[in-house]
Amino acid sequence: MSVKESSRARDTMILAIFSVVVLTAPLWAKLIGAGYPDLLQKFAIFGLFAIGYNILFGLTGYLSFGHAAFLGIGSYTTVWSFKLLSMNVLPAVFFAILLSGLFAAAIGFISLRRTGIYFSILTLAFAQMSYNLAYSVLTPITNGETGLRVLSDDPMVLDKALGVEVEGSPLGTLFGLTMTGWSAFYFCAVVLILGFWVSLKIFRSPFGMKLLAIKSNQTRMEYTGFNTRPYLLSAFVISGMYAGLAGSLMAVTDPLAGAERMQWTASGEVVLMTILGGVGTLFGPILGAATIKYFEQIFSAINDQVLSSTFDFLPELLNQFMVTITSPFVGEGWHLTLGVLFMVIIIFMPGGLMEGIGRLIRLLPGRRGMAAQQTQYDADVTIEANADNQTTTPEKVEKGDAS
């Protein structure tokens, strides 16, 4: 078996395992209290967002602080497609990807004229302008603070033409299958698997290799007469389209689009997800996204009532003690736990969660199992990516003189 074939077989195996893990999520997620449709949808959607972001950040090292703009554009486009055309999700998703791609092309074209932190601030500026305008003066298009929703008296010309009637609060459909609950999750899951597959292909392609080369030394690439801009712009547009797709899925599973999806905190969140999971790894971003969403939903919901029943097995006094020392970290304190988690992970595992997993695997005796091999493989990518980071130039900003 040639090297190429073996790597292709390995990729197929990775994809197969990934698909199984994603599709069986409703089973295993129950064990950690996450086995309900909305959270699993969020895992898939933000996983997709982070995978896309990783194509830009992980491969090229360009740190965008404005990807939430594309998320918002995807959501708004989707809701408008619902309102004007049809509740069918396919045109909605299509237009969302298209429009966010166009916006990404425009913003990327301008922002990619700069590197390092100057690039980051340009993307941040565009996203913040989008957010501020969407919240206020663009209210006729975005419905401002309340958010854009589908109303039963919207035109929906395609649905009307085909004789599909909508009553009450309309929900997205896929040829009659309503996009809510588990059906919506499976739809997102399939899209996530497709998105993962595309990302895998990009990572393995010559295109991906060129992006990594740009990351490791852009100046050298340019000296050799290689024009990096088209490659960078492609990566930017692709990741913008992923973000648009994620935004679209948010609106598909819940037909509402709000401006706060474009805020810098939302852009920052995807950066954190990617770094937390492991920049430049295949699975890391998804893992990071799931971790943050899990904290947001599950940790924030733990209150004293829940805590004291958790520690029920302990004697009264010890129970109270445990409740007292743990309660600052859950419920309204979930932010605190998240902050501590960020610090601990990045201090002890520079490559994010994926590096941690890689280390664990290496500790296992006789790591032969499929899963072990796959994770190991991914962990290797992490380490490569980290090795790259040491010599990265584009994101290393030249330190100006303190004058």
């Binding site: 932190i117 100057y118 500026a125 913040q128 501020n132 932010h335 960020f342 610090m343 290393k396």
Partner: protein
Amino acid sequence: MDAILLQILNGLDKGGAYALIALGLTLVFGTLGVVNFAHGALFMLGAFVAVSVQGLLTISKKVKDESITFFDAYKETPYLELWWGDIGTAIIDFAVPISILVAIPVMLLIGLAMERGLVRHFYKRDHADQILVTFGLAIVIQEIIKANFGANPIPTAAPAAVAGSANIGALFGIDGLVYPWWRMMYLVFSLAIIGAVFAFLHMTTFGMVVRAGMHDRETVGLLGINIERRFTIVFGIAAIVAGLAGVMYTPILPPDYHMGMDFLVLSFVVVVVGGMGSLGGAVAAGFLLGILQSFASMNEVKSILPGIDQIIIYLVAVIILLVRPRGLLGKD
């Protein structure tokens, strides 16, 4: 005419504040190469030094309000007032200026602890790691403050003598030109701090070594100079500057635990527009953005360009970065 003058004055005032808030950030980046997302948290901690000082000064004798039986309601009289009468009242009145003195050692300690305990290990890591770890730290600091002081803003007034407005128009024979004392003091204060930091880096041996160390840490190290320790001190100075910016801001903006995050993005924009690591650039960018923001908020401008006040800062940032690749005064 007076309207224009007022907006210019307002722009300068805002600019001074922006420059001061951004100064510490640019100092740390310029010298240590660290992208410090916890800078906003330092600013907020400074403001809470003022809150704490005010709280300590106003520890009160509580006289129970007997008309309320369902819970304990008190009418509070600070002990300082009880003991020293008017002098006590005056001391309380000067809580914010006193906080400036307190903030210097407190913020220095916080800064040193942060650098020694955490940031130092991240000098050689890439920016992404620095962002994640300092962002995590910012959240932790923020949540600790929230747990102790609550989420609501806490009123922290300027001394009564300077809490109101000055009729500065009267000096020049222009009617209607009044401006708050405290805001004018903030402007002067920020210029003084900026000048001091600048002088420190350029006119002292210490500053020279630090600047040399920025260019070539190893060579300076080989000369037998302990550059690490100097970097630590620079971080401490940056923490003091951020903290003082926070203390001085409390009469303008009643502090709450989230104020650091609110200013984080703004301070980054100011620093980057000025040119990362350039102190002069940060100051120039601060004033430029302040003045433009002030003018963009005028009704006359808003009626022509609706919503311009919402985006002006970002719009200017984009234009400047496209015209000048490294910001206003940044070097390639």
